[in-house]
Symmetry: C2
Subunit: 461 residues, 2 copies
């Protein structure tokens, strides 16, 4: 942990820009001395950040000039797409050296970023204990508790003493850097309690662990979804959690910093409505990969728009009578889209944070309907007045106003109901905040607007 | 901490629904015994959750039947709008009892949810030490380090020993529940180092603190924005951070669970594009309050749509010549809106997580332009073919294709450039993912499409 430079780094973006220019210049001159001076004192997260701002060529030069013992900590801080390109330029021996230095969960992440073939080759070069650990971790799904846990736990048998546990901690070198709890297991290795470091500090060395432990420990199954684990952390303000298998055997632990990563990924997913796309896109540097990630949406939009065109086509006669009807397509779609997306965002986010639950669906839908009614009346009247005044036809204005109310009611309903339906169907409800709701609302809004108008024109004729 | 019931609660939503029905039935029967049985073993976060699912009347009954010593922990877990309505129903004496039980930062949050007048009255009823603490906390902005810190820190003078510190921890009752670090101060009370609990566990009691402390401690100024603090936690995987004033005097600490709350709020802000609206809306129960929060957006949409209508009006002659041009307004706006929102979301999110910085603006814009070009070509051709085939006019189809390319290029550029501009102007860049970009893109897209079409029709005539 460092003081001065880090905080300054954070204070202003400029210093970072200057620093990057310095690094680039030193790489240009191949001045390893100057680079050493810059990076020796910098925390790995900051070094990783600078590396992300360099060109591929510069990255390889810099990474190879890093001290091998620091390279691991830096590598794990680098975003996946860039990490992959750096790994491409390293030889297997260096990678296996790096894997020996980092925590087991980080080692598994690095292995996961290698092509399958290479991953196997690298694992072969590791010491038996290391490779066995890694293979144990790699068997769990990436998004499960097992996929994010590390194996460096400190456990104690229940019939040992405080003094024994303190001795164990003193002797251990790995996995005690971020130690908050010691998990207590019985003779069958089953999790039976927890002791905090504070207890170890204040209790006498000869006290039995079973006497001071808390037997009511929150644990999580190794196959549990990582988002459920994050919910547990948020709900109970946890700093770490023990991971157990089906027989309640202690297999690892998850710490607060892992959960912050999960939360960020979860938000990215919600924002991107497709698994992990946003997080990747931010760091991604390949035009084609980003383009490929966005195309499905765009094409959905194109086809939705064509359906809308076909709908409008059905009302050709009305449009021929009053061409100005088409002027208001954008505003009709704007109020519908706006209402629908907003309602969907609230429901999706509420379900993600656990604040909106299935038990309260009816309450939520009813609330959304009331909100849509109030806003529909206000916007409808506003819209009707503007259109009526513009076209000097308040009969038409009234119909636009009525259409506005119905469209906002309809969009408010679809916006809040669709996420619940998706969730029931086991589809990610976040999909509802994307082009799906927008396109659906566009088409329904046009139908309501043009339908009402046609009815009105026929009555007038 | 508890085991069985909590995990089960989390496993399925149904159990929660049944539990709520049970609670409602017991409240109906005014069966305090049954309620006691349910809530005695339930963690406060779960009790708070159940209270949120009740009607106002039921909430008041339940809250008054809670054990006073548990009420504080439960109250702080309840969402702000509901907390306010519960506070309305409690008398000042009970509130001040509650404030004595909770941590200083939580007490300040509760006070913050009371009307100004009442807050002052309640503070008067507190013990001197308590009210002085609270007033110290309340002077800091809600969104600053001072606003989220608590005052329950354990500090040690640098010339004391491990044994002394252990004694202090043993004697303290408050603020040692979630203890991870002891902050070391010099005679002037300035922060000079940090000792982890692990160090206290493994070092001999007679060792000097100054010998075992780490002098390079990351601290944060009391006036620092809470989002900056969250970035520090994420970046350096912190579990807690000491808060200092301008003279480096230790004034409090922030822990990992506070930061998770900040992160959630930050995401809510980004999603809602207006300070804190989403988080409030999720728990809000007043139709008018939600309606008021959403109206500004809707009205922006209405006026944007009217401007779009005025733009279309300028091209009346072209529309009269080929009425089918209006059929494609929705698709034109869909591809523009889709591209713009997506690009804006990536840039806004990247800036929020700190992955996209000012130093790389040019790189990012260039990347977005390349992506827009590729996607523009693909969608443009697709659109041109469909329109050409539909209207049996491939000349018109070609113009639509060309319009598609230009619209996607334009939206990709505005979508990624506007957030940077907003940030430079010190406006929340998240605003760019809202109706602002959508409306701007709608209008520009229609201008491009109708402009090109008019040019084409004139050339043909």
């Amino acid at each position: 942990m460092f003081k001065g430079p880090i905080l300054k780094n954070f204070e202003t973006e400029n210093i970072n820009g200057k620093l990057i220019d310095n690094v680039k210049a030193s790489i240009e001159k191949k001045d390893s001395g100057a680079l050493g001076k810059i990076f020796d004192k910098l925390p790995s997260a900051d070094t990783a950040d600078i590396i992300e701002h360099l060109e591929t060529r510069e990255r390889h030069f810099l990474f190879n000039s890093l001290k091998p013992e620091a390279a691991g900590d830096i590598l794990v801080e680098i975003e996946a797409p860039i990490q992959k390109s750096i790994l491409d330029g390293l030889d297997n021996r260096l990678i296996s050296k790096i894997l020996m230095q980092v925590d087991s969960d980080e080692a598994a992440d690095i292995i996961g970023n290698l092509p399958d073939r290479r991953a196997k080759d690298v694992i072969k070069t590791l010491a038996d204990e290391q490779s066995e650990k890694l293979e144990r971790l790699l068997q769990y799904g990436k998004d499960t508790a097992g996929g994010i846990m590390d194996l460096e736990v400190v456990s104690a048998l229940e019939d040992t003493t405080v003094g024994d546990v303190v001795k164990t901690i003193r002797e251990k070198k790995k996995g005690v850097e971020n130690l908050y709890h010691v998990w207590v297991v019985n003779n069958l290795k089953r999790l039976v309690g927890v002791v905090s470091l504070k207890d170890l500090v204040i209790e006498a060395p000869d006290r039995k662990i079973s006497e001071i432990m808390n037997p009511e420990v929150i644990s999580v199954d190794v196959h549990r979804d990582q988002e459920d684990v994050a919910q547990l952390f948020k709900r109970y303000d946890l700093v770490d959690i023990p991971v157990v298998d089906a027989n309640y055997l202690l297999v690892g632990r998850i710490t607060h910093d892992d959960i912050i990563d999960v939360m960020e990924k979860e938000v990215d997913e919600d924002l991107s409505l497709m698994t992990g796309v946003i997080g990747q896109e931010i760091a991604e540097e390949s035009t084609l990969k980003i383009s490929k990630a966005r195309l499905p949406w765009l094409i959905t939009g194109v086809f939705g728009g064509i359906v809308a065109a076909a709908v409008i086509n059905q009302f050709e006669t009305s449009l021929e009578t009053v061409m100005a009807l088409s002027f208001f397509f954008p505003v009709i779609m704007a109020v519908g889209g706006n209402t629908g997306t907003r309602a969907a965002t609230i429901v999706v986010r509420g379900m993600a944070t656990g604040d909106i639950r299935f038990v309260s669906i009816r309450k939520r839908l009813w609330l959304e309907m009331k909100v849509a009614f109030v806003n529909g009346i206000i916007c409808g009247i506003l819209l009707g007045l503007i259109v009526g005044a513009w076209l000097s036809d308040f009969g038409l204005g009234t119909i636009v106003a009525l259409a506005g109310v119905l469209i906002i009611l309809n969009s408010g309903f679809t916006g809040s109901a669709v996420p619940f339906c998706l969730k029931k169907l086991n589809i990610d409800p976040a999909l509802a905040t994307g082009p799906l709701i927008t396109t659906l609302n566009d088409i329904l809004s046009l139908l309501i607007y043009l339908g009402l108008m046609t009815l009105f024109l026929r009555l007038c004729a």
